[in-house]
Every structure is written in structure tokens, then in C-alpha cells.
């Protein structure tokens, strides 16, 4: 009741809301278009303004038949989960130490890490490639995991060291009194308290890693190791834009997991950003 009367007092609010909804619809149209076109029959696919009259699954069948989507999904998931897992483990320890031990060595390392924020991965791509060859890591998912984790370290360490400052020192002192070693105290007591920072970190990195093309293009050429993105690009290159249907179906399948993840976590992401990233 109360809400409704407040709304009535403010009619510009509703007009504005309707304008925004229309804007959002136009803004999202390319995404509807992607999904729509992936269900259009081959006869209709070159009529961009036409609406499909029934769901045509042929493009999906063709895409799955030609491309090992499940393998791509597996590779992409292994690389995403692996690199973020590694990133969280080592950057939380590093950020914690930098915030807690005010010795010159650790402060120096902090600036060392932060300076990495301005080094683009592209600058080092050729030496990295050479190193991958020398270490027999080219065409392995492990290499991608190490690269992504290393590249995201500066931001992650920055966030964790900022977040550590909000954790009271008494917690560690009481853990030490209970006979916890430093290592156990960190993982069993401190790390769980860093959950908001960890959540933000995952949300900030998962999309970039999942969607990355540049890395797999350079370092993962073996078809059995390809990620979803390089599968799409490879498939498109092999079929030279003649057959858009299966490409669109592939795009939908590669995007769907992230969209689902985003819809379920978006509330948390907002909170995490407010708590973690902005206050730093």
C-alpha cells in the first residue's frame, strides 16, 4: 500500500522506468538476435527481419556433430577453475603477508606486483611462447592455468592486502593461543573471513578467462585442448561465413553457462564490488 502511494506521487519515475526498459530491450536486441537466428530454419536464416515460425534444432545438431562441444566445455572449465583456484590460493597468502608484516622486503614485493598491472600480456607473448616450448608446456592446459593466474596476480594481491586490513589482529592472536601454526591459522581462520574478497575476485576474473581468445589462439593449437572460444573461431575459419546457423548455435552454447552463472550470482557481485573493489 505504502509503496504504491509513493509511486503515484512520482509519475516521472514510471515514465523513466518505461524508457529504460525500452532502452534495455534495444540494448539487448543483438543477444536476442543471436538466440533467434540459431533457431531459424536454413530457408529463413538469410532474412534477418523474419521471425522463426518454429524452433529449428538442426543447427545445434550440426554444430554438435562437427565440433566436440563437450570437450571444449571441459577444457574451458578446467582452465577457468584451475587458474582461479591457483590465483585465490597464492594471492590470498601474498596479500595477507603484505598487509600484516610491515617489513621493507614485503613492501618492495608489493610494488613489484602492482607494477605488473600496466604490463600487457601481449608485450611478453613471444618470450612466453619460447618459454612454453622450452618447458614442453605449449599445448597444455597447465600452461594456460599458470599464465592466467600470473596475469591476474597484481589485481588480486592488491585486493587481498586491502581486505586483510579490515580483519582484526586479535583473531590471529587468539588462534596462536589455541596452538594454531601460522599456516593452519591462515587457512582455517583468516581465509574464510576473506570470502567477500574471494567472491569479488572470482566474479572479476571468470568472464575474462572463460571468454579469452588471445591465449588459446597462441598457446593451445591442439584440437583436443581447445577452449570453446577457439573452437568457435576455428569452426568459423573452416566454414568461411557460408553457414552461419551452426556458428550461432555454437555461440549460444558457449555463452549459456556464463549467463546462467551471472544471473545466479549478480546480486552477490554487486555486494562484493561495493565491499571489495571500490574501497580497495
Amino acid at each position: 500500500m505504502n509503496k504504491r502511494s509513493a509511486k503515484r506521487k512520482n509519475p516521472t519515475g514510471i515514465t523513466l522506468e518505461i524508457i529504460l526498459i525500452i532502452a534495455a530491450f534495444l540494448f539487448l536486441y543483438p543477444i536476442f538476435y543471436l538466440i533467434l537466428t540459431s533457431f531459424k530454419s536454413p530457408a529463413q536464416i538469410n532474412q534477418p527481419l523474419a521471425m522463426p515460425d518454429s524452433l529449428y534444432w538442426g543447427h545445434y545438431e550440426k554444430a554438435i556433430e562437427k565440433v566436440n562441444v563437450l570437450l571444449g566445455l571441459f577444457n574451458t572449465s578446467v582452465i577457468s577453475v584451475g587458474s582461479i583456484g591457483l590465483l585465490v590460493i597464492i594471492s590470498s597468502m601474498a596479500g595477507y603477508v603484505i598487509a600484516r608484516i610491515p617489513r621493507r622486503f614485503f613492501q618492495f614485493l608489493f610494488f613489484f606486483f602492482i607494477s605488473g598491472m600496466v604490463i600487457p600480456l601481449q608485450t611478453g607473448m613471444i618470450p612466453i611462447f619460447k618459454m612454453g616450448v622450452a618447458l614442453h608446456l605449449i599445448d597444455t592446459r597447465t600452461f594456460m592455468i599458470l599464465l592466467y593466474a600470473a596475469g591476474a596476480l597484481p589485481m588480486a594481491i592488491f585486493m587481498y592486502s586491502g581486505f586483510t586490513k579490515s580483519i582484526p589482529r586479535e583473531i590471529e592472536e587468539s588462534a596462536a593461543m589455541d596452538g594454531y601454526g601460522k599456516f593452519r591459522a591462515f587457512w582455517l581462520i583468516i581465509f574464510p573471513l576473506m570470502l567477500p574478497a574471494t567472491g569479488t575476485l572470482i566474479m572479476l576474473n571468470i568472464y575474462g578467462i572463460w571468454n579469452d581468445l588471445f591465449g588459446p589462439l597462441l598457446y593451445l593449437k591442439d584440437p583436443s585442448k581447445m577452449t570453446l572460444m577457439s573452437q568457435i573461431v576455428q569452426f568459423k575459419a573452416n566454414h568461411q561465413s557460408i553457414d552461419y546457423g551452426p556458428i550461432f548455435a555454437l555461440c549460444v552454447m558457449a555463452t549459456l553457462p556464463l549467463v546462467v552463472l551471472f544471473i545466479f550470482t549478480q546480486k552477490y557481485m554487486m555486494k562484493g564490488l561495493v565491499a571489495g573493489a571500490i574501497k580497495g
Binding site: E17, T37, P120, F183, M229, I247, V259, L273
Partner: protein, 292 residues
Amino acid sequence: MKASTREWWTGFWFILPATVLFSAFVFYPFVSSIYYSFTEWDSIRPAKFIGWDNYAFLLEDSKMLQAAKNTILITVFGIVVQNPLSLLLAILLNRSFRTKILLRVAFYLPVVVSLVVTSIVWGHILQYEGLLNGFLERMGLHSWVRDWLGDTRSVFPTIIALTQWQGLGYCAVIYLAGLQTIPQDLYEAAKMDGAKALNRFRHVTLPMLMPATTIVVFMTIVGGLKMFDIPYIMTGGGPGSASYTLTLAIYNAAFRENTYGYAISGGIVLMIFIMIVTLIQLKIMRRKEVEM
């Protein structure tokens, strides 16, 4: 062992894995890139030291110069157009609409969709026989119809517009997070002092949003300078070199033409770009933050 020494060693073991990984995969490749940028190197024969030749050649290479121009354009557009637009969007999305959550999700969704998929969908929409031209025809705007990606004059503005669409939600969400950290009593105090809406925006919202602005501008710069996927998939840099970006030019120099040393010198220039722009930006922002 003294307690502080023991603490130092614990810290050392804690920070060691991150340091090793960062040194091996970020710092070492960077340092060796600086060395290789002064060499002629095709990765088969050993690198030959040639001094500043690569850098001198960069300045004469019309493709590289076009790429640098395009890369700067993307970044400037991001800061001048996308940045204020995303702030406006954030302010609107911060109101208590009934469809607030839905609207936020809608405007953020393009960020979740990869640049690969974005390029493919938009590539289809922008074809000569595609959705956009079909729509324009139907609206009677025949003179607007063009080969958006095939024309040297329209290709890069089109790509810029696309990057703005893709990144708008990301910037808006950071501003939105920034808006939510502004304490409500600041507005109430300003109201009591008789400040009008526009003045409240200028003297409360904007200064309090400075940290968020710093992040947004930094992300826009880094994202713009790294732009690769869209021109790689949609145009391959063409027609001619009209849609080259620095990263694409570097990639081609290295993996198409096998001129590794030269490609790396382009990469170094890219990095110096990022550093200079970031430093200038941080200086300006710092000063603004102090002023307020």
C-alpha cells in the same frame, strides 16, 4: 630465533609462490622482451642485435601507425563517450525502480558475452544484407545503407561503437558500486543547505565518485589498448589497414610475418603507451581527489 625473524620467514614462505609465478610469467617475459626489441629475430636463427632499427621502422610502417591511431581513438572514445554515458546509466539504475534488478542484469549482459561471440553476431548484423541495412531500408533511410565493415571510412567508427556497447555495462556497474558507498547523510546535509539537485550532483556525487572514476578510466584504457578479438574476427584488420589495432598488428608481425623482434618492439611501445596514459590519468585524478 627471534619472534620477528620467525615472522619474516613465515611471510617469506607465504609470498614465495606468488613471487615465483609472477617473476616467471610476467616479469621475465617483459624484461626479455625489452632485449629482443633491439634484435632482428625470426625464432629460428639466433637473434641479431640491431640497436634502434625496429623502433625506427615502426615510425615508417603505415600499418603500425594506422594501428596506433585506431588504438588511441578507441581509448579516447571510451573515456569521452562511454564514461559519462555509463555514469548516467548508473545514476538511473541506482533509483528504486520495481524492475531494478532486471534492468541491471540487462545492461550488464553484453559484458558476460565474449568478444568472440559479440564479433560474430554483430558481424552478421552489419553484413550488407544484414539486419541493420534491412532495418534502414524498411525505415526508408536508403542513403544510410552502406557496407559497414567493408568501407574504409565506416569500418573503424563501427568497431568503436561496438566496443562502447560491449563495455557500457561494466563501467556502469563500477559506478553503481561507487554510488552505493556514498553516505546518504551527505545528501541530506546538502539539501538542508539548500543545494539544488544539480549542485548536489556536482559537489557531493562527483567528488565521492572519484575512486570509481579512476577504476573506470583505467579499465577503459587497458581494455582499449588491448583490443584484439573484434578486428581479428570481424575484419582481419581490413579493408586495407583501416581497422588495425596495435595488438592485432603485433600479432600479425609475429605470427604471420615471423618478424619477432619487430613485433616485440611494437609491444614495448604499446606498454609505454599504457604507462604514460595511466600515469597522466592517476596524476589528474589524484589532484581532483585532493581538490574536492
